[in-house]
Every structure is written in structure tokens, then in C-alpha cells.
């Protein structure tokens, strides 16, 4: 699955579909704000600031008979960085893929419970997953620019949505927001594949934010990059979180500690064990299992 698959699918979808998701009168902001958070079984608390933009309630995911997520409930505040950490197979990528229904593309995957985006359950029958993914962009472990020019990579989603007014300005702004503009402004017609790995990843981030999504999901976005490119991506994540909500899955606990506002710790069996402010998780977690995991005593 690549991002191009998603956007290609979206070619014929009317943009008004997207608006209907957030405009659903049954799910206004008040309801979201008043919803109490459940943070796994061993404590944690609700978001300290920011309106809740994503909320999962009793989310279970099965791959065939195997249960990949167990009764996950948490609230993600907007315009912040939320990190999801945990050992391999703990369900953290599964959870991420639930948010924009990427699990739809996996055979045998079955989702129970609710995953709300701006108050609307994204698994409701009337939600179009393609329109949803336009509001919730995704950046993957391996940079995956299209085999097109740098300019066309960024303009791609805008053209699909017929947002071609001031296209040059929009492309420039997205590249600036992705901290890539200065490095590519003189060669916008070169192929995106000519760029270094770190630049390619920033190009993918530019492509994701060009269409102004509410949320950007990142699945190990820096794990294939060298330390310098990694630190650039980390800086960038914190910058774009001023405008967008970032949810990042990472194996790198120090990365989660460095860049995130909130951290969710999943442990084996798809259980959300603790979800709290990042400094709390890394200085004094409530759960002994989380303590043992982050200090490296197991896992």
C-alpha cells in the first residue's frame, strides 16, 4: 500500500463528503470535550490541553482469530504530537492504521468498537475511507515519492482536489512548511527520486500537508534515515504540530521522548497499558510494566 493508491482512489470523490464528516450535528465539540478518557487498565489521564480530535472507544481489532488490539480507549488532542510506543507485535501500527482505515486493505482484519475523528465514528457505514484519508494523511517508514518532479509530487493531491488556484504558492508553502524549500527551489522540475532519503521523506511530508489534512499519521518516519536526516525530521514534526495533529509510531523510545507531547504505551497482546503526558511516562510511569519496558528490563 502506498500513498499513491489512496490518492488515486480519491480522484472521483467530491470534497463535500469530507466536510460532512466534521459537520455531523450529532457529534459536536461539546460531546468530545466532555467525554471521559480511559487510559488502559493501569491509570493515565486525559489530554492536558487541546481539543480532542481523535478518540478511540473500546477498540478491538482482529486479524482472523488473532486479537491485535484489546479494548483500546484514548483521546488524542489536536495540534500536538502523540507518540505510540511498544514492543514489536504490540498493535501500535495496527492502531495507527485504524485511524484512517488503512486496515480496510488488510484481508481478515476486523474492527470492533469506535474510532472517532472529529466526533464521527470513521467505521460508520456512511464514511468514505478515501475522503477520510484526505483529512488524515500518512507518512511511511520508507520515503515513497512518486516518480514525478518535486513540484508535481507536492501538487498531486491539490490537482486531484481541483485546488489549482495559486498552485505555485501552495506548493512553495508546503515545501517551506516541510523545511525543504531552500534545498529544492532551484530544481523543482527534477525527479523526487533524485533527492536524498531525508529529503525524500520531507517531500512526502510536504505532499501530505499540501492538501491541508487535519491529522498526519507517521509510521516510523525516521527509522530508515541517518542521524542528521532524523533530527531534521524530528524538528519538522514539532514544527508542523503547531498546525496539524501528528500521531507517530516509533520503535525509538528516545525519539518519542524528544518530540512528543503525549505518549501511549502498548504492550504485548494489543493492550494500551498507559497513556499520559510524555514527561510523566518517561520520569514516573504509573505502571510497573511500562517502567520495565521503557527502562529496558524486558521487551
Amino acid at each position: 500500500m502506498t500513498q499513491s493508491d489512496m490518492t488515486d482512489d480519491g480522484r472521483t470523490e467530491p470534497t463535500s463528503e469530507t466536510d460532512s464528516v466534521s459537520a455531523d450535528p450529532e457529534h459536536d465539540d461539546e460531546e468530545l470535550i466532555e467525554t471521559g478518557v480511559t487510559a488502559g487498565t493501569e491509570g493515565g489521564s486525559g489530554p492536558v490541553g487541546g481539543r480532542t480530535i481523535i478518540e478511540s472507544r473500546g477498540l478491538d481489532v482482529y486479524y482472523g482469530e488473532e486479537r491485535a488490539l484489546q479494548d483500546v480507549s484514548l483521546e488524542i488532542p489536536e495540534k500536538s504530537v502523540t507518540a505510540i510506543i511498544g514492543p514489536s507485535g504490540c498493535g501500535k501500527s495496527t492502531f495507527l492504521r485504524c485511524i484512517n482505515r488503512m486496515n480496510d486493505l488488510i484481508q481478515n482484519a476486523r474492527v470492533e468498537g469506535e474510532l472517532r475523528f472529529e466526533g464521527k465514528n470513521v467505521y460508520d457505514d456512511d464514511v468514505d475511507p478515501v475522503a477520510l484519508r484526505r483529512r488524515i494523511g500518512m507518512v511511511f517508514q520508507e520515503p515513497n515519492p512518486f516518480p514525478k518532479s518535486i513540484y508535481d509530487n507536492v501538487a498531486y493531491g491539490l490537482r486531484l482536489q481541483d485546488q489549482t488556484d495559486d498552485l505555485d504558492e501552495k506548493v512553495e508553502q508546503a515545501l517551506k512548511d516541510a523545511a525543504l524549500w531552500d534545498e529544492v527551489k532551484d530544481r523543482l522540475d527534477e525527479s523526487g527520486l533524485e533527492l536524498s532519503g531525508g529529503q525524500q521523506q520531507r517531500l512526502c511530508i510536504a505532499r501530505a500537508i499540501a492538501v491541508d489534512p487535519g491529522v498526519i499519521l507517521m509510521d516510523e518516519p525516521a527509522s530508515a534515515l541517518d542521524p542528521v536526516a532524523t533530527s531534521q525530521i524530528e524538528d519538522l514534526i514539532q514544527e508542523i504540530a503547531e498546525e496539524y495533529t501528528v500521531v507517530i509510531v516509533t520503535h525509538n523510545m528516545q525519539q518519542a521522548a524528544r518530540i512528543s507531547d503525549r505518549t501511549a504505551v502498548f504492550l504485548t497482546g494489543g493492550e494500551l497499558v498507559e497513556y499520559d503526558d510524555t514527561d510523566k511516562i518517561f520520569q514516573n510511569p504509573e505502571s510497573q510494566r511500562v517502567e520495565d519496558y521503557i527502562t529496558g528490563k524486558f521487551g
Binding site: M253, Q254, A257, F282, Q283, N284, P285, V290, E291, I294, T295, G296, K297, F298, G299
Partner: protein
């Protein structure tokens, strides 16, 4: 258990901090003995021993920095290292104060105000340091609070001792000349001794405060 070498380094740090506290307490006991017996050799041993304490401090500081830089400790490990980093500073200062006792011994020519029991105050502060280090070794939050609560008692002892000195001084009738100078030096030294011992108690409280942070993530005793 994963990260065995890291765990060994944490254990080593704790063992070395406890060893440093033993050395410092030994200096403190000998400083008090020297003051009591006017044993100049012992006083010199305490003074010369400060170099060893300083070296231990630097070595432990490096252990802490290395752990922070190389192991990215978090949660209770982080608090243990952060607390130890602060505690070794307090131990080093207690070592300096023990050295002061050695200096006072060399300077003293006679006893003034024998009714002021600096030895008793000294023993009290040593107990406080011992209890604080036991709390650190045993990760005992109640022991931390107990040490902190004893500080008021120590402060009271020190204040009474100082007042005794000042009151006696006011009431003493002096001849002119050299006797005044000598008395002034002796009184200053005694007041400094009392102040230094009171500070040892403050450092014991600091050690307890950082230990409580380490054990319970609480800043209850930190100022």
C-alpha cells in the same frame, strides 16, 4: 533481565555512592575526635584526606554523566541517577566541613566555653547523615521524612549553643590586649564549628530530599 551491563553500572553507582558516604562519615568522626582530643596528627589526616573525597566525587560525577549520555535512562533509573548526582555534591560538601574541623583543631589553643557540647551536636549530625544514607540504600521514604524532621531538633541545639557562647561573652570581664584577641579567635572558631555542624545536618536533609524524589518522584522535602 535485559540490558545487563547497564544494570551493573547502576548497581556500581549505588555501591560507590555508599562507599563515598562511608569515607566522608569516617572523616567527620575523625574531625570531631581531633577537635575533642586536640590530636594534630589526626587533624592533618582529615585535612589530607579531602583530596581522596574530591577524587571520588569527580569519578562519581563522571559515572552519572556517562550513564545519562550513553544509556538514556528513564523513569526510576533516571531519578536514581539524578538523585545520586545531587547526593554526591552534598557528600563532597560534608567532606569539606570535616576538613574545617581539622583546621579548627590546628588553630585551637585552649578550650573556651566547655559547657558548649560540640561533640554531642556532632554525633547528632553524624547520625542524621547515616540515616539519610540508609534511606538511600534501602529506598525508604519514611526514613527520609524522619531525617528531615530531625533537622529542627539540630537547629535548636545549634541555636542554644550559639546563644550560650554569645551570652557568656557579654558577661565576661576582660583585661585589655592579647587576651581579647585570643578570646575573639577562640569564640569565632567555636561559632564556626557550630555553624559547620548545622550545615552537615542540612546536607543530610538534602540527601533525604533527593532520595525521596528518587523513591516517590516527590519534591516534598526539596525546599
Amino acid at each position: 533481565m535485559a540490558r545487563e551491563s547497564y544494570q551493573e553500572k547502576l548497581d556500581q553507582l549505588q555501591a560507590d555512592v555508599l562507599y563515598m558516604s562511608e569515607v566522608v562519615l569516617d572523616r567527620l568522626r575523625k574531625g570531631l575526635d581531633a577537635l575533642d582530643t586536640k590530636d594534630e596528627d589526626l587533624a592533618w589526616a582529615v585535612i589530607d584526606g579531602d583530596e581522596e573525597v574530591n577524587e571520588m566525587y569527580l569519578d562519581l560525577e563522571k559515572q552519572c554523566i556517562d550513564l545519562l549520555a550513553l544509556q538514556q535512562p528513564v523513569a526510576s533509573d533516571l531519578r536514581f541517577i539524578a538523585a545520586s548526582f545531587k547526593i554526591i555534591t552534598d557528600l563532597e560538601r560534608i567532606g569539606d566541613l570535616a576538613t574545617n574541623l581539622g583546621d579548627y583543631t590546628l588553630q585551637a589553643e585552649r578550650d573556651v566555653f566547655p559547657e558548649v557540647d560540640a561533640q554531642s551536636i556532632g554525633r547528632f549530625t553524624i547520625e542524621m547523615v547515616e540515616e539519610a544514607m540508609d534511606a538511600y540504600a534501602n529506598e525508604d521514604p519514611e526514613a527520609c521524612r524522619l531525617v528531615a524532621s530531625r533537622d529542627d531538633e539540630l537547629d535548636g541545639k545549634c541555636e542554644r549553643a550559639s546563644q550560650l557562647v554569645v551570652r557568656d561573652l557579654i558577661e565576661t570581664e576582660l583585661d585589655e590586649g592579647a587576651e581579647v584577641e585570643t578570646l575573639l579567635a577562640d569564640v569565632s572558631r567555636l561559632l564556626l564549628t557550630i555553624r559547620d555542624l548545622e550545615r552537615v545536618g542540612d546536607h543530610a536533609v538534602n540527601i533525604s530530599a533527593r532520595t525521596l524524589y528518587m523513591v516517590e518522584n516527590s519534591d516534598e522535602l526539596i525546599y
